[in-house]
Protein backbone atom coordinates (compact mmCIF):
# COMPACT_ATOMS: atom_id res chain seq x y z
CA UNK A 1 0.00 0.00 0.00
CA UNK A 2 2.65 2.46 -1.08
CA UNK A 3 1.38 5.99 -1.23
CA UNK A 4 -1.35 5.17 1.23
CA UNK A 5 0.70 4.40 4.32
CA UNK A 6 -2.05 5.21 6.80
CA UNK A 7 -4.54 2.57 5.74
CA UNK A 8 -2.74 -0.06 7.78
CA UNK A 9 -2.60 1.79 11.12
CA UNK A 10 -6.25 2.80 10.78
CA UNK A 11 -7.23 -0.75 9.85
CA UNK A 12 -5.35 -2.12 12.86
CA UNK A 13 -6.86 0.40 15.27
CA UNK A 14 -10.40 -0.40 14.11
CA UNK A 15 -9.86 -4.13 14.27
CA UNK A 16 -8.41 -3.79 17.75
CA UNK A 17 -11.45 -1.77 18.76
CA UNK A 18 -13.73 -4.58 17.60
CA UNK A 19 -11.84 -7.28 19.43
CA UNK A 20 -11.00 -5.30 22.57
CA UNK A 21 -14.64 -4.58 23.24
CA UNK A 22 -17.50 -7.07 23.44
CA UNK A 23 -18.78 -5.86 20.06
CA UNK A 24 -17.02 -8.40 17.88
CA UNK A 25 -17.70 -11.35 20.15
CA UNK A 26 -21.36 -10.60 20.69
CA UNK A 27 -21.94 -10.06 17.01
CA UNK A 28 -20.05 -13.17 15.95
CA UNK A 29 -21.73 -15.36 18.56
CA UNK A 30 -25.21 -14.20 17.59
CA UNK A 31 -24.34 -14.70 13.94
CA UNK A 32 -23.05 -18.23 14.50
CA UNK A 33 -25.88 -19.14 16.86
CA UNK A 34 -28.52 -18.31 14.28
CA UNK A 35 -26.78 -20.11 11.47
CA UNK A 36 -25.86 -23.04 13.72
CA UNK A 37 -29.45 -23.44 14.81
CA UNK A 38 -30.75 -23.74 11.28
CA UNK A 39 -27.85 -25.82 10.07
CA UNK A 40 -28.10 -28.42 12.84
CA UNK A 41 -31.87 -28.63 12.78
CA UNK A 42 -31.62 -29.19 9.07
CA UNK A 43 -28.98 -31.81 9.60
CA UNK A 44 -30.56 -33.78 12.41
CA UNK A 45 -34.28 -33.21 11.95
CA UNK A 46 -34.52 -33.21 8.19
CA UNK A 47 -31.47 -35.39 7.57
CA UNK A 48 -30.24 -32.95 4.97
CA UNK A 49 -26.48 -32.48 4.90
CA UNK A 50 -26.18 -29.36 2.80
CA UNK A 51 -24.53 -25.97 2.91
CA UNK A 52 -27.54 -24.60 1.06
CA UNK A 53 -29.23 -23.47 4.23
CA UNK A 54 -26.12 -21.48 5.21
CA UNK A 55 -25.97 -19.69 1.90
CA UNK A 56 -29.68 -18.94 1.99
CA UNK A 57 -29.50 -17.57 5.49
CA UNK A 58 -26.30 -15.56 5.55
CA UNK A 59 -27.46 -12.90 3.04
CA UNK A 60 -30.51 -12.31 5.24
CA UNK A 61 -28.45 -12.02 8.41
CA UNK A 62 -26.02 -9.67 6.67
CA UNK A 63 -28.89 -7.21 6.28
CA UNK A 64 -28.79 -6.57 10.04
CA UNK A 65 -25.31 -7.70 10.85
CA UNK A 66 -23.42 -5.40 8.52
CA UNK A 67 -25.18 -2.14 9.45
CA UNK A 68 -24.60 -3.07 13.09
CA UNK A 69 -20.86 -3.45 12.71
CA UNK A 70 -20.39 -0.43 10.46
CA UNK A 71 -22.67 2.14 12.06
CA UNK A 72 -20.08 3.56 14.43
CA UNK A 73 -17.12 3.67 12.04
CA UNK A 74 -17.35 7.32 11.03
CA UNK A 75 -20.37 8.51 13.01
CA UNK A 76 -18.64 8.05 16.32
CA UNK A 77 -15.53 9.90 15.20
CA UNK A 78 -17.72 12.75 14.06
CA UNK A 79 -19.64 12.86 17.29
CA UNK A 80 -16.66 12.67 19.62
CA UNK A 81 -14.62 15.12 17.55
CA UNK A 82 -11.78 12.68 16.95
CA UNK A 83 -12.41 13.03 13.23
CA UNK A 84 -10.90 16.49 13.54
CA UNK A 85 -7.76 14.95 15.05
CA UNK A 86 -7.60 12.35 12.34
CA UNK A 87 -8.13 14.73 9.44
CA UNK A 88 -5.63 17.29 10.69
CA UNK A 89 -2.92 14.66 10.66
CA UNK A 90 -1.24 13.99 7.33
CA UNK A 91 -3.88 11.40 6.45
CA UNK A 92 -5.94 11.35 3.26
CA UNK A 93 -9.69 11.02 3.59
CA UNK A 94 -9.61 7.99 1.33
CA UNK A 95 -7.16 6.28 3.68
CA UNK A 96 -9.57 6.75 6.55
CA UNK A 97 -12.43 5.27 4.53
CA UNK A 98 -10.39 2.32 3.24
CA UNK A 99 -8.84 1.52 6.61
CA UNK A 100 -12.22 1.42 8.27
CA UNK A 101 -13.83 -0.47 5.44
CA UNK A 102 -11.15 -3.16 5.51
CA UNK A 103 -11.46 -3.57 9.28
CA UNK A 104 -15.22 -4.14 9.12
CA UNK A 105 -14.81 -6.44 6.17
CA UNK A 106 -12.21 -8.44 8.07
CA UNK A 107 -14.61 -8.78 10.99
CA UNK A 108 -17.23 -10.04 8.58
CA UNK A 109 -14.80 -12.62 7.22
CA UNK A 110 -13.89 -13.61 10.77
CA UNK A 111 -17.56 -14.20 11.53
CA UNK A 112 -17.96 -16.24 8.40
CA UNK A 113 -14.83 -18.36 8.91
CA UNK A 114 -16.21 -20.69 11.63
CA UNK A 115 -18.99 -21.78 9.27
CA UNK A 116 -16.28 -23.64 7.36
CA UNK A 117 -16.60 -26.19 10.17
CA UNK A 118 -20.03 -27.09 8.81
CA UNK A 119 -18.35 -27.73 5.53
CA UNK A 120 -15.93 -30.11 7.22
CA UNK A 121 -18.87 -31.87 8.91
CA UNK A 122 -20.72 -32.31 5.68
CA UNK A 123 -17.64 -33.43 3.80
CA UNK A 124 -17.10 -36.16 6.40
CA UNK A 125 -20.68 -37.36 6.01
CA UNK A 126 -20.67 -37.68 2.29
CA UNK A 127 -19.26 -36.40 -0.93
CA UNK A 128 -19.45 -32.72 -1.60
CA UNK A 129 -18.96 -30.58 -4.65
CA UNK A 130 -16.46 -27.99 -3.43
CA UNK A 131 -16.61 -25.76 -6.49
CA UNK A 132 -20.00 -24.13 -5.88
CA UNK A 133 -19.36 -23.97 -2.14
CA UNK A 134 -16.18 -21.95 -2.46
CA UNK A 135 -17.80 -19.84 -5.15
CA UNK A 136 -20.62 -19.14 -2.72
CA UNK A 137 -18.17 -18.10 0.00
CA UNK A 138 -16.50 -15.83 -2.52
CA UNK A 139 -19.94 -14.41 -3.36
CA UNK A 140 -20.76 -13.89 0.30
CA UNK A 141 -17.54 -11.95 0.79
CA UNK A 142 -18.28 -9.82 -2.25
CA UNK A 143 -21.86 -9.14 -1.21
CA UNK A 144 -20.77 -8.52 2.36
CA UNK A 145 -18.10 -6.15 1.08
CA UNK A 146 -20.69 -4.13 -0.78
CA UNK A 147 -22.86 -3.97 2.33
CA UNK A 148 -19.87 -2.88 4.41
CA UNK A 149 -19.12 -0.17 1.86
CA UNK A 150 -22.70 1.05 2.10
CA UNK A 151 -22.43 0.90 5.89
CA UNK A 152 -19.29 3.06 5.86
CA UNK A 153 -21.03 5.54 3.59
CA UNK A 154 -24.11 5.74 5.85
CA UNK A 155 -21.90 6.17 8.86
CA UNK A 156 -20.24 9.11 7.15
CA UNK A 157 -23.56 10.84 6.55
CA UNK A 158 -24.47 11.41 10.16
CA UNK A 159 -23.00 11.60 13.62
CA UNK A 160 -25.82 9.52 15.04
CA UNK A 161 -25.09 5.79 15.00
CA UNK A 162 -28.76 4.80 15.08
CA UNK A 163 -29.47 6.90 12.03
CA UNK A 164 -26.41 5.42 10.33
CA UNK A 165 -27.79 1.94 11.07
CA UNK A 166 -31.20 2.79 9.68
CA UNK A 167 -29.84 4.38 6.51
CA UNK A 168 -27.56 1.48 5.67
CA UNK A 169 -30.21 -1.08 6.61
CA UNK A 170 -32.72 0.56 4.26
CA UNK A 171 -30.23 0.72 1.40
CA UNK A 172 -29.07 -2.89 1.70
CA UNK A 173 -32.66 -4.05 2.20
CA UNK A 174 -33.66 -2.25 -0.97
CA UNK A 175 -30.77 -3.82 -2.89
CA UNK A 176 -31.71 -7.23 -1.51
CA UNK A 177 -35.44 -6.92 -2.18
CA UNK A 178 -35.36 -5.24 -5.55
CA UNK A 179 -35.30 -8.52 -7.51
CA UNK A 180 -38.05 -10.01 -5.33
CA UNK A 181 -40.75 -7.72 -6.67
CA UNK A 182 -40.21 -8.30 -10.37
CA UNK A 183 -43.70 -9.73 -10.90
CA UNK A 184 -45.21 -6.37 -10.03
CA UNK A 185 -43.26 -4.26 -12.51
CA UNK A 186 -43.46 -3.91 -16.29
CA UNK A 187 -41.33 -6.35 -18.22
CA UNK A 188 -38.96 -3.74 -19.62
CA UNK A 189 -38.04 -2.62 -16.15
CA UNK A 190 -37.77 -6.11 -14.74
CA UNK A 191 -34.41 -7.04 -16.28
CA UNK A 192 -32.84 -3.81 -15.12
CA UNK A 193 -34.21 -4.24 -11.64
CA UNK A 194 -33.05 -7.80 -11.53
CA UNK A 195 -29.58 -6.68 -12.48
CA UNK A 196 -29.55 -4.18 -9.63
CA UNK A 197 -30.33 -6.76 -6.97
CA UNK A 198 -27.47 -8.12 -4.89
CA UNK A 199 -29.20 -11.43 -4.34
CA UNK A 200 -29.54 -12.08 -8.04
CA UNK A 201 -25.77 -11.77 -8.53
CA UNK A 202 -25.03 -13.73 -5.42
CA UNK A 203 -27.19 -16.64 -6.53
CA UNK A 204 -25.44 -16.56 -9.90
CA UNK A 205 -22.08 -16.91 -8.21
CA UNK A 206 -23.23 -19.47 -5.67
CA UNK A 207 -24.21 -21.78 -8.49
CA UNK A 208 -20.49 -22.14 -8.99
CA UNK A 209 -20.10 -19.94 -12.03
CA UNK A 210 -18.03 -16.88 -11.35
CA UNK A 211 -19.10 -14.60 -14.12
CA UNK A 212 -17.22 -11.37 -14.62
CA UNK A 213 -20.54 -9.51 -14.89
CA UNK A 214 -21.43 -10.43 -11.33
CA UNK A 215 -17.98 -9.59 -10.02
CA UNK A 216 -18.00 -6.27 -11.85
CA UNK A 217 -21.42 -5.51 -10.43
CA UNK A 218 -20.22 -5.99 -6.86
CA UNK A 219 -16.89 -4.25 -7.45
CA UNK A 220 -18.46 -1.19 -8.99
CA UNK A 221 -21.13 -0.93 -6.31
CA UNK A 222 -18.42 -1.18 -3.67
CA UNK A 223 -16.19 1.34 -5.41
CA UNK A 224 -19.07 3.75 -5.75
CA UNK A 225 -20.11 3.56 -2.12
CA UNK A 226 -16.52 4.00 -0.89
CA UNK A 227 -16.13 6.94 -3.23
CA UNK A 228 -19.28 8.52 -1.80
CA UNK A 229 -18.07 7.78 1.72
CA UNK A 230 -14.87 9.70 0.97
CA UNK A 231 -16.94 12.55 -0.40
CA UNK A 232 -19.04 12.52 2.77
CA UNK A 233 -15.86 13.13 4.77
CA UNK A 234 -14.83 15.93 2.48
CA UNK A 235 -18.24 17.48 2.93
CA UNK A 236 -16.90 19.44 5.90
CA UNK A 237 -14.95 21.45 3.37
CA UNK A 238 -17.96 22.72 1.45
Amino acid sequence: MMGYPNILPIFRRELRYYFNSPVAYVVIIVFLAIIGWFFTSNLFLMNVASMRIVFDLVPLIFLFFVPAITMRLLAEEKKSGTLELLTTKPVRDVEIVLGKFLAAWALLAAALAPTLLYLVTIASLGSIDFGPVFAAYFGLLLMGGVYVGIGVLSSGLTENQIIAFIISFLIVLALFMIDKVLMYVPEGLATTMEFLGTDHHFSNISRGVIDSRDVIYFASLLGFSLFLATVSLERRKW
Binding site: N6, S21, L85
Partner: protein, 314 residues
Protein backbone atom coordinates in the same frame (compact mmCIF):
# COMPACT_ATOMS: atom_id res chain seq x y z
CA UNK B 1 8.87 28.11 10.59
CA UNK B 2 6.55 31.00 10.01
CA UNK B 3 2.83 31.22 9.46
CA UNK B 4 1.38 33.79 7.11
CA UNK B 5 -2.37 34.34 7.22
CA UNK B 6 -3.75 36.46 4.41
CA UNK B 7 -7.25 37.95 4.09
CA UNK B 8 -8.96 34.97 5.62
CA UNK B 9 -12.75 34.98 5.50
CA UNK B 10 -15.08 32.20 6.56
CA UNK B 11 -18.85 32.22 6.65
CA UNK B 12 -21.27 29.91 8.36
CA UNK B 13 -24.39 30.49 6.34
CA UNK B 14 -24.84 34.22 6.24
CA UNK B 15 -22.81 34.94 9.32
CA UNK B 16 -19.15 35.75 8.93
CA UNK B 17 -17.15 33.81 11.50
CA UNK B 18 -13.98 35.57 10.48
CA UNK B 19 -13.77 38.57 8.26
CA UNK B 20 -10.64 39.38 6.26
CA UNK B 21 -8.06 38.45 8.85
CA UNK B 22 -4.34 38.81 8.11
CA UNK B 23 -1.40 38.27 10.42
CA UNK B 24 2.02 36.67 10.60
CA UNK B 25 3.61 34.50 13.21
CA UNK B 26 7.39 34.39 13.28
CA UNK B 27 9.55 31.41 14.12
CA UNK B 28 9.95 30.87 17.83
CA UNK B 29 7.10 33.16 18.71
CA UNK B 30 4.31 32.25 21.11
CA UNK B 31 1.22 34.00 19.86
CA UNK B 32 -1.80 34.31 22.10
CA UNK B 33 -5.13 34.41 20.38
CA UNK B 34 -7.53 36.24 22.60
CA UNK B 35 -11.21 36.89 22.14
CA UNK B 36 -14.64 36.24 23.53
CA UNK B 37 -16.38 32.97 22.69
CA UNK B 38 -17.50 32.92 19.09
CA UNK B 39 -15.00 35.55 18.01
CA UNK B 40 -13.44 33.30 15.39
CA UNK B 41 -10.40 31.91 17.19
CA UNK B 42 -11.28 28.27 16.70
CA UNK B 43 -12.35 28.85 13.10
CA UNK B 44 -9.00 30.43 12.28
CA UNK B 45 -7.17 27.52 13.86
CA UNK B 46 -9.26 24.99 12.01
CA UNK B 47 -8.34 26.67 8.76
CA UNK B 48 -4.61 26.77 9.55
CA UNK B 49 -4.67 23.06 10.39
CA UNK B 50 -6.44 22.25 7.10
CA UNK B 51 -9.57 20.95 8.81
CA UNK B 52 -11.72 23.21 6.74
CA UNK B 53 -11.03 25.68 3.97
CA UNK B 54 -11.67 29.42 4.12
CA UNK B 55 -14.28 31.06 1.90
CA UNK B 56 -11.47 33.28 0.67
CA UNK B 57 -7.90 34.08 1.56
CA UNK B 58 -4.94 31.79 2.15
CA UNK B 59 -2.61 30.51 4.82
CA UNK B 60 1.00 29.62 4.25
CA UNK B 61 2.95 27.56 6.73
CA UNK B 62 6.67 27.77 6.09
CA UNK B 63 5.88 28.99 2.60
CA UNK B 64 3.54 26.08 1.86
CA UNK B 65 -0.01 26.87 0.89
CA UNK B 66 -2.80 25.02 2.74
CA UNK B 67 -4.62 24.27 -0.50
CA UNK B 68 -1.80 22.93 -2.64
CA UNK B 69 0.31 21.29 0.05
CA UNK B 70 -2.28 20.23 2.57
CA UNK B 71 -0.51 17.01 3.55
CA UNK B 72 2.87 18.71 3.92
CA UNK B 73 1.37 21.50 5.99
CA UNK B 74 -0.31 18.97 8.26
CA UNK B 75 3.01 17.17 8.72
CA UNK B 76 4.55 20.32 10.13
CA UNK B 77 1.73 21.10 12.52
CA UNK B 78 0.88 19.66 15.90
CA UNK B 79 -2.71 20.41 16.81
CA UNK B 80 -4.67 20.25 20.01
CA UNK B 81 -8.31 20.86 19.07
CA UNK B 82 -10.83 22.55 21.28
CA UNK B 83 -12.33 20.15 23.85
CA UNK B 84 -9.39 17.80 23.24
CA UNK B 85 -11.14 14.84 21.58
CA UNK B 86 -9.41 11.50 22.22
CA UNK B 87 -10.08 7.81 21.69
CA UNK B 88 -11.29 6.89 25.14
CA UNK B 89 -11.02 3.16 24.49
CA UNK B 90 -7.28 3.22 23.78
CA UNK B 91 -4.55 3.22 26.37
CA UNK B 92 -2.07 6.06 26.43
CA UNK B 93 0.84 4.19 24.85
CA UNK B 94 -1.28 2.67 22.08
CA UNK B 95 -2.78 6.03 21.31
CA UNK B 96 0.59 7.74 21.10
CA UNK B 97 1.82 4.95 18.87
CA UNK B 98 -1.21 5.36 16.62
CA UNK B 99 -0.62 9.12 16.39
CA UNK B 100 3.04 8.56 15.60
CA UNK B 101 2.17 6.11 12.83
CA UNK B 102 -0.34 8.47 11.29
CA UNK B 103 2.32 11.15 11.25
CA UNK B 104 4.50 8.79 9.26
CA UNK B 105 7.25 8.37 11.85
CA UNK B 106 9.68 5.60 11.07
CA UNK B 107 8.84 2.38 12.86
CA UNK B 108 12.19 2.22 14.67
CA UNK B 109 11.95 5.83 15.82
CA UNK B 110 8.51 5.45 17.38
CA UNK B 111 9.30 3.77 20.74
CA UNK B 112 11.93 6.38 21.48
CA UNK B 113 9.64 9.29 20.65
CA UNK B 114 6.85 7.84 22.76
CA UNK B 115 9.21 7.48 25.70
CA UNK B 116 10.29 11.08 25.27
CA UNK B 117 6.74 12.42 25.13
CA UNK B 118 5.67 10.34 28.11
CA UNK B 119 8.42 11.87 30.20
CA UNK B 120 8.06 15.42 28.83
CA UNK B 121 4.34 15.45 29.46
CA UNK B 122 4.52 13.60 32.77
CA UNK B 123 2.51 10.57 31.71
CA UNK B 124 4.64 7.82 33.31
CA UNK B 125 2.07 6.89 35.91
CA UNK B 126 -0.83 6.50 33.51
CA UNK B 127 0.79 5.17 30.37
CA UNK B 128 -0.90 1.76 30.62
CA UNK B 129 -4.31 3.19 31.44
CA UNK B 130 -7.19 3.69 29.06
CA UNK B 131 -7.63 7.34 28.19
CA UNK B 132 -11.26 7.10 29.29
CA UNK B 133 -10.12 6.51 32.86
CA UNK B 134 -7.89 9.56 33.00
CA UNK B 135 -8.61 12.85 34.73
CA UNK B 136 -9.03 15.96 32.67
CA UNK B 137 -5.53 17.15 33.44
CA UNK B 138 -3.98 13.92 32.25
CA UNK B 139 -6.15 13.89 29.15
CA UNK B 140 -4.93 17.37 28.33
CA UNK B 141 -1.36 16.15 28.63
CA UNK B 142 -2.15 13.22 26.36
CA UNK B 143 -3.59 15.75 23.90
CA UNK B 144 -0.38 17.75 24.05
CA UNK B 145 1.74 14.63 23.75
CA UNK B 146 -0.06 13.52 20.57
CA UNK B 147 0.29 17.02 19.17
CA UNK B 148 4.06 16.97 19.67
CA UNK B 149 4.86 13.33 18.97
CA UNK B 150 6.25 14.08 15.53
CA UNK B 151 8.36 17.03 16.66
CA UNK B 152 6.34 19.58 14.71
CA UNK B 153 7.74 23.02 14.11
CA UNK B 154 4.36 24.61 14.59
CA UNK B 155 2.00 24.00 17.49
CA UNK B 156 -1.61 25.08 17.31
CA UNK B 157 -3.30 24.77 20.69
CA UNK B 158 -6.96 25.61 21.05
CA UNK B 159 -7.61 26.49 24.68
CA UNK B 160 -4.91 24.20 26.06
CA UNK B 161 -5.72 24.94 29.69
CA UNK B 162 -9.50 24.95 29.63
CA UNK B 163 -11.07 22.86 32.36
CA UNK B 164 -7.87 22.39 34.33
CA UNK B 165 -7.37 23.21 37.98
CA UNK B 166 -4.99 26.06 38.85
CA UNK B 167 -2.03 23.77 39.53
CA UNK B 168 -2.47 21.94 36.28
CA UNK B 169 -2.80 25.25 34.45
CA UNK B 170 0.58 26.34 35.74
CA UNK B 171 2.12 23.01 34.73
CA UNK B 172 0.72 23.09 31.23
CA UNK B 173 1.75 26.71 30.79
CA UNK B 174 5.29 25.93 31.81
CA UNK B 175 5.31 23.03 29.43
CA UNK B 176 4.16 25.23 26.58
CA UNK B 177 6.69 27.90 27.45
CA UNK B 178 9.49 25.41 27.60
CA UNK B 179 8.51 23.83 24.30
CA UNK B 180 7.76 27.14 22.71
CA UNK B 181 11.35 28.26 22.66
CA UNK B 182 12.16 26.20 19.62
CA UNK B 183 8.75 26.17 17.99
CA UNK B 184 6.18 28.50 16.61
CA UNK B 185 3.16 28.33 18.88
CA UNK B 186 -0.31 29.71 18.41
CA UNK B 187 -2.60 29.26 21.38
CA UNK B 188 -6.07 30.51 21.98
CA UNK B 189 -7.55 31.36 25.30
CA UNK B 190 -9.97 33.62 27.00
CA UNK B 191 -7.95 33.69 30.18
CA UNK B 192 -6.07 36.94 30.17
CA UNK B 193 -3.49 36.08 32.78
CA UNK B 194 -2.54 33.15 30.62
CA UNK B 195 -1.58 35.44 27.80
CA UNK B 196 0.49 37.58 30.09
CA UNK B 197 2.20 34.52 31.53
CA UNK B 198 3.02 32.67 28.34
CA UNK B 199 2.78 34.74 25.20
CA UNK B 200 5.26 36.94 23.41
CA UNK B 201 2.54 38.51 21.38
CA UNK B 202 -1.20 38.94 21.67
CA UNK B 203 -3.80 39.11 18.98
CA UNK B 204 -7.21 40.22 20.15
CA UNK B 205 -10.00 39.18 17.88
CA UNK B 206 -13.62 40.20 18.08
CA UNK B 207 -16.53 39.40 15.82
CA UNK B 208 -14.20 37.96 13.23
CA UNK B 209 -11.85 40.94 13.08
CA UNK B 210 -8.47 41.62 14.61
CA UNK B 211 -8.87 44.53 16.97
CA UNK B 212 -5.42 44.63 18.54
CA UNK B 213 -2.00 43.16 17.89
CA UNK B 214 1.17 43.56 19.98
CA UNK B 215 3.03 42.43 23.05
CA UNK B 216 1.00 42.51 26.26
CA UNK B 217 3.04 45.57 27.30
CA UNK B 218 2.38 47.42 24.06
CA UNK B 219 -1.31 46.81 24.31
CA UNK B 220 -1.43 48.23 27.79
CA UNK B 221 0.55 51.27 26.72
CA UNK B 222 -1.55 51.93 23.66
CA UNK B 223 -4.62 51.99 25.79
CA UNK B 224 -3.09 53.98 28.60
CA UNK B 225 -5.55 56.76 27.76
CA UNK B 226 -8.20 54.51 29.12
CA UNK B 227 -7.24 55.35 32.68
CA UNK B 228 -10.19 55.56 35.02
CA UNK B 229 -11.01 57.23 38.30
CA UNK B 230 -13.56 55.49 40.45
CA UNK B 231 -15.68 57.67 42.66
CA UNK B 232 -18.07 56.72 45.38
CA UNK B 233 -20.24 59.40 46.81
CA UNK B 234 -23.34 59.96 48.81
CA UNK B 235 -25.86 62.51 47.71
CA UNK B 236 -29.58 63.00 48.13
CA UNK B 237 -30.70 63.63 44.61
CA UNK B 238 -33.55 62.12 42.66
CA UNK B 239 -31.89 60.67 39.63
CA UNK B 240 -28.09 60.35 39.65
CA UNK B 241 -27.94 60.06 35.87
CA UNK B 242 -29.66 63.41 35.60
CA UNK B 243 -28.18 65.28 38.53
CA UNK B 244 -24.69 63.90 39.02
CA UNK B 245 -23.44 62.39 35.77
CA UNK B 246 -23.61 65.56 33.66
CA UNK B 247 -21.74 67.53 36.28
CA UNK B 248 -18.97 64.95 36.47
CA UNK B 249 -18.89 64.79 32.71
CA UNK B 250 -18.37 68.57 32.63
CA UNK B 251 -15.03 68.30 34.45
CA UNK B 252 -12.20 68.97 32.02
CA UNK B 253 -10.56 65.87 30.46
CA UNK B 254 -13.37 63.51 31.44
CA UNK B 255 -14.34 61.59 28.35
CA UNK B 256 -17.04 59.38 29.75
CA UNK B 257 -18.97 58.75 32.94
CA UNK B 258 -20.41 55.38 33.93
CA UNK B 259 -22.69 54.68 36.85
CA UNK B 260 -21.37 51.43 38.26
CA UNK B 261 -23.79 50.85 41.11
CA UNK B 262 -26.20 52.57 43.41
CA UNK B 263 -27.72 51.75 46.73
CA UNK B 264 -29.80 54.08 48.87
CA UNK B 265 -28.23 57.37 48.07
CA UNK B 266 -24.70 56.04 47.55
CA UNK B 267 -23.45 55.99 43.99
CA UNK B 268 -20.37 54.59 42.36
CA UNK B 269 -19.11 56.16 39.17
CA UNK B 270 -16.29 55.32 36.83
CA UNK B 271 -14.81 58.34 35.08
CA UNK B 272 -12.83 57.61 31.96
CA UNK B 273 -10.28 60.32 31.47
CA UNK B 274 -7.94 61.42 28.76
CA UNK B 275 -4.31 60.43 28.66
CA UNK B 276 -2.10 62.10 31.21
CA UNK B 277 -4.84 64.11 32.91
CA UNK B 278 -5.55 64.03 36.65
CA UNK B 279 -9.03 65.03 37.62
CA UNK B 280 -9.04 64.10 41.27
CA UNK B 281 -8.70 67.65 42.50
CA UNK B 282 -11.47 69.15 40.38
CA UNK B 283 -13.64 66.18 41.24
CA UNK B 284 -13.12 66.79 44.91
CA UNK B 285 -13.91 70.50 44.55
CA UNK B 286 -17.04 69.68 42.61
CA UNK B 287 -18.22 67.31 45.33
CA UNK B 288 -17.64 69.96 47.97
CA UNK B 289 -19.43 72.62 45.93
CA UNK B 290 -22.40 70.34 45.33
CA UNK B 291 -22.55 69.12 48.91
CA UNK B 292 -21.93 65.45 47.96
CA UNK B 293 -20.17 63.33 50.51
CA UNK B 294 -17.11 61.74 48.98
CA UNK B 295 -16.70 58.22 50.34
CA UNK B 296 -13.99 56.91 48.09
CA UNK B 297 -11.90 57.99 45.13
CA UNK B 298 -9.05 56.17 43.41
CA UNK B 299 -7.23 56.13 40.15
CA UNK B 300 -6.54 52.96 38.25
CA UNK B 301 -4.17 52.24 35.35
CA UNK B 302 -5.22 50.00 32.51
CA UNK B 303 -5.03 46.27 32.88
CA UNK B 304 -5.13 43.83 30.02
CA UNK B 305 -8.59 42.88 31.22
CA UNK B 306 -9.78 46.37 30.52
CA UNK B 307 -8.10 46.55 27.15
CA UNK B 308 -9.81 43.31 26.30
CA UNK B 309 -13.13 44.45 27.67
CA UNK B 310 -13.01 47.74 25.82
CA UNK B 311 -12.03 46.14 22.54
CA UNK B 312 -14.53 43.36 22.60
CA UNK B 313 -17.65 45.12 23.76
CA UNK B 314 -19.42 48.20 22.39
Amino acid sequence: MSIAVRNLTKKYGEQKAIDDISFDVKTGEILGFLGPNGAGKTTTMKIITCYMPPASGTVEVDGLNIFDHSLDVRKKIGYLPELNPLYLDMNVLDYLEYSAQLHGLKREAIPHRIKEMVSTCGLEEVRQKDIGELSKGYRQRVGLAQAMIHEPDVLILDEPTSGLDPNQIVEIRNLIKQLGRAKTVVLSTHILSEVQATCDRVLIINEGKIVADGTPEQLKQNFQGAETVTLELKASVGNPLEHISPKLRAIAHVSNVELLSESDSTYRFALHIEKGADIREPAFRLAVAEGWILLEMYRKGTSLEEVFHRLTTS
